[in-house]
Amino acid sequence: MARYGMVVDTARCVGCMDCVVACKTENNVPEGFNRDWIAYDIHGANPALHMEIRSERCNHCDNPPCVYCCPCGASHIHERGGVVLVHHEKCSGCKACMAACPYDARFIHPDGYADKCTFCIHRVEQGLAPACVSVCPTHCMHFGDIDDPNSDVSRLLLSRRNHPLVPQAGTKPQIFYLT
């Protein structure tokens, strides 16, 4: 069984936001909302400051609190690749999933249901990469099966230092950032 994940090379990401535009176009994300975004993380002590630019989105966690807290069964783990999705027709808009997400990756769609990144599962099922990955001009984003040791993402994770976001929250996020 595949486990889909993403690897973002922060040494290559320039924060051009092509991934953001591609996502909005592909998924018809309403104006004023984003399923993915760019984070500029500046840390260190002056003058030895370091800036990490990251393309962020739902982390499709292995231990997803948004799924466990949903009272309607709308938030669920898709049978293919462990992707976390929302059945729009089951969602009551209670916002429990938004409170449960340590990444604030969800929002309420103007139609009333909780919305978020789907890893473009409709494209992945056709053998295509997610829209954000396919348009990246610096090829800093990689998508694939993390459980397959021969996949691009697994090889990158073995060859480079990397970190997920907020691992201490215990949600086992499936997006990793190469440093």
Binding site: N34, A39, I42, G73, R106
Partner: protein, 316 residues
């Protein structure tokens, strides 16, 4: 140093989570208040106080149903997809505290209705004579009435704890992530309920009993509140930052003045003087307790949404 800038800007997410407003605070408060009223009215049934027609137990279950319905209406107003409210009752999600709460509320109504049947106010009997017949049948089985009392107390405790567990299950919000929150909301609900019943209790004996109980609940609430803060302060850095929002941060003035001072300590002193007959009983201390309980929910709901794993460093 660390500075995190993001380009997201999603409505009600950025710059900090603001998804739950007055509706959820009011719902949690009314849920806690009704939970306390169920425990008190259940206790009155168990002790057969319903035999005294001047007892507040004649009106408590009916009032509880009205207040709970108002709370559930506030919850309904909070839903973003209101026509899908029935979806919560199309499934039971064992890992979701909100799902547990939805089904507990379904059990609470029949328990309150049975409680109400034992002794109803005259104006209800006049309008629905059928209730009188059912009530007569219940009075032939005193053990059954005591069982209804016990069921009301148990469901009241479940409802009160649930209002706190609902928030404490969200690990993503460090301020809420404390097991003490369930107990805090239960005790706060009990103190608000004792104060609420105290205001309209017609006989002196019941007023004295409720004021004494309220003093005990307020004292326990103060200890649980301290336990809640100590638990956060002795935890991780993000939990410490969350506790600091209440202790010395942006929510501190409201928390110390309205929740601790005017909501617990001062009414506790005034009611202690009243039960030792140094001053007259007055509705002012109970009103302060009720408002303190309401403001506690507002502060916890708002500060909890502002507490965060990644923004903790910026909150100090």
């Amino acid at each position: 140093m660390q500075e995190l800038d993001i380009t997201r800007g999603n409505h009600r997410i950025d710059p900090s989570l603001d998804i739950w407003g007055w509706e959820i605070s009011v719902y949690l408060f009314l849920g806690g208040l009704v939970a306390g009223m169920m425990i008190i009215s259940g206790f009155f049934l168990f002790r057969e106080r319903y035999r005294d027609t001047r007892s507040t137990s004649t009106i408590l279950p009916f009032l509880s149903m009205v207040l709970l319905s108002a709370g559930m209406f506030a919850l309904f107003l909070d839903l973003e997809y209101k026509v899908h409210v029935w979806r919560m009752y199309a499934t039971f999600q064992i890992t979701s505290p909100m799902s547990w709460g939805s089904w507990i509320l379904v059990l609470v109504y029949p328990a309150l209705f049975l409680n109400m049947l034992v002794r109803q106010p005259r104006w209800i009997l006049v309008r629905v004579p059928l209730f009188e017949r059912w009530s007569e049948q219940m009075h032939r089985h005193p053990v059954g009435i005591r069982t209804v009392g016990v069921v009301n107390m148990l469901l009241g405790a479940l409802l009160g704890i649930y209002t706190g567990i609902l928030l404490s299950s969200f690990g993503a919000r460090p301020l809420w992530n404390s097991a003490a929150l369930g107990l805090l909301f239960l005790v706060s609900g009990l103190s608000a309920a004792a104060a609420f019943v105290h205001i309209f209790a017609p006989n002196r004996e019941e007023r004295e009993l409720l004021a004494k109980s309220d003093n005990a609940f307020l004292t326990i609430e103060l200890f649980v509140l301290a336990l809640f803060l100590v638990g956060l302060i002795t935890s991780t850095r993000v939990h410490q930052a969350a506790a600091m929002m209440l202790i010395g941060g942006p929510y501190a003035p409201v928390f110390w003045v309205f929740v601790v001072g005017l909501g617990i300590v001062i009414p506790l002193i005034l009611q202690s003087l009243a039960v030792t007959h140094r001053i007259q009983h007055s509705p002012v201390p109970p009103l302060m307790v009720i408002l303190g309980g309401l403001i506690l929910r507002f502060v916890i709901v708002a500060a909890g949404q502002a507490s965060h794993w990644t923004r903790a460093a910026q909150l100090w």
